[in-house]
Symmetry: C2
Subunit: 131 residues, 2 copies
Amino acid sequence: MSKCMALLSGLWTPELVWCLSNGARRFSELRRDNPTITAKVLTGRLRDLEARGVLERNVLATSPPSVEYALTSLGRELLPAITSIVEVGSRLLLRETPGKASGGVQPEQANTRAAPKRASQQSTDPDVQMG
Amino acid sequence: MSKCMALLSGLWTPELVWCLSNGARRFSELRRDNPTITAKVLTGRLRDLEARGVLERNVLATSPPSVEYALTSLGRELLPAITSIVEVGSRLLLRETPGKASGGVQPEQANTRAAPKRASQQSTDPDVQMG
DNA sequence: CAGTATCCTTGCGGATACTG
DNA sequence: CAGTATCCGCAAGGATACTG
């Protein structure tokens, strides 16, 4: 279970798979696609995904060496599942992040449970951590 | 993207969602379903999932107080996506973990594909880290 | 360009003890 | 039963510098 879900574990992993969904991309292209990722992490994620059989690494013998990464057939099979989760996730996020200033619905009322004292103050979404 | 995938972030999260897929379960039942989870982590995951709208918490007024957790309708919509990922994941794991070839999750179709290429070493699989 | 190597911080998750 | 409160270790990730 978790072992399977761990396929997409690690920060940036879903983004990278997504970036490759339209075709192969080079290392520097992936860096530009996600401007705040560090080279170290990018390398790590790409190695992980390669080891897991999600993508393939292809070294092109050009004058400045370039490397292309492309999803494998199994890797492409993950895309529908990812979009499904993103779809549900979007609805959830809309529901609980209505808007901060312009007349949004108060999110605290979404649950019919007399909150004892636990103030679920958690609007700040500093950094997501997929795994 | 990651924000949506973060719905299932955190260790044990996929398992918990899965445990609730057949109906509501109590706190101690979830503990028994996953014997090695600690109360702290279980509480944390349940609170997270509740805050994200994936499940609902229901306090039953019994003499020993009991609490039930159940997936919301949106939470249930995650199940097909999870099974999809697990399905692909199983095929990937079978491919790189020789020895357990008898149905963990329904394979549905044996993918007869020769080893794609030189197996990248680095079979480190100490601990999965979904979130 | 496509990475390695190194240091350092963060916080997740485990362990343990305690409570209404 | 259903949690909360603390302490702690460890590894994931960020920052930075360097290489073929």
